[in-house]
Homo-oligomer: 115 residues x 2
DNA sequence: AGGACACTGAACCGAATGGTGCAATGACGG
DNA sequence: CCGTCATTGCACCATTCGGTTCAGTGTCCT
């Protein structure tokens, strides 16, 4: 039961990659075009090592693709389209709607006296 | 130096709450109706203490609402509709599309107008 | 060649996670 | 009142996380 979702590992990695505002910022930045580790680190006042780790997390989740170019590493948005992540949230939304329906039915029943 | 961006913890909390398959299972289970801590813990072979912690995480993210009823605690889906979480993912999808456009508009242009 | 530059690997650190077990606490049934 | 039941608070533990520093490694510039 409850098998409408893909591998948990994938979803785990994607959601935990998104669960950090620095990493969400990185994705937003990369939406404007490729950037190096240094260019990503600068605005966050973070060391290059720290930024490398964040990029690695995003890369493991498939959200970012990187390529070593000369002495710097070019980072760009990856192939992961978050369809699975979105699908799961949609699924949850549907559950929520259903729960709402249930509640409304309950109240309607109460209001309608008898039973 | 302390991390000084702690204000959009809403998204942080939601995504990190979702970044665990046990907690996603809990949400799915609660979609079928309210349950006690014990009923939630059973199928996962987890201690009540452990399950209480997971539920607490979900509750802090607004995804679950709980209420003490007699000696047990009733858990149900919460008020958080994941609209923000969904919106952010949609935003990322748009960035991705735009990146695709940039890369492939060139080829699309050369192929002429189909569609 | 020699030096500056961009990143990376490793070791380290404090805090947070995900889990356990045990001892309360509080409600229920008799 | 007493025993049982469901949950919870606390202490503990191992692992991961987000970040650092420091010492390389490899590339670019002159």
């Amino acid at each position: 039961m409850v098998n409408h979702m893909v591998q948990h590992d994938t979803l785990d990695r994607i959601y935990s990659a998104l669960a950090d505002s620095t990493r969400r910022d990185i994705l937003t930045r990369l939406g404007e075009g490729p950037a190096s580790i240094g260019e990503l680190a600068g605005p966050h006042g973070m060391t290059l090592t720290g930024m490398t780790k964040h990029v690695r997390v995003l890369e493991d989740a498939g959200l970012v693709r990187t390529e070593k170019v000369g002495r710097s590493r070019q980072c760009r948005l990856g192939e992961e389209r978050l369809d699975d992540a979105m699908a799961w949230i949609s699924f949850y939304q549907r559950l929520w709607e259903r729960r709402l329906d249930g509640l409304e039915a309950y109240f309607t029943l109460q209001r309608g006296t008898d039973s």
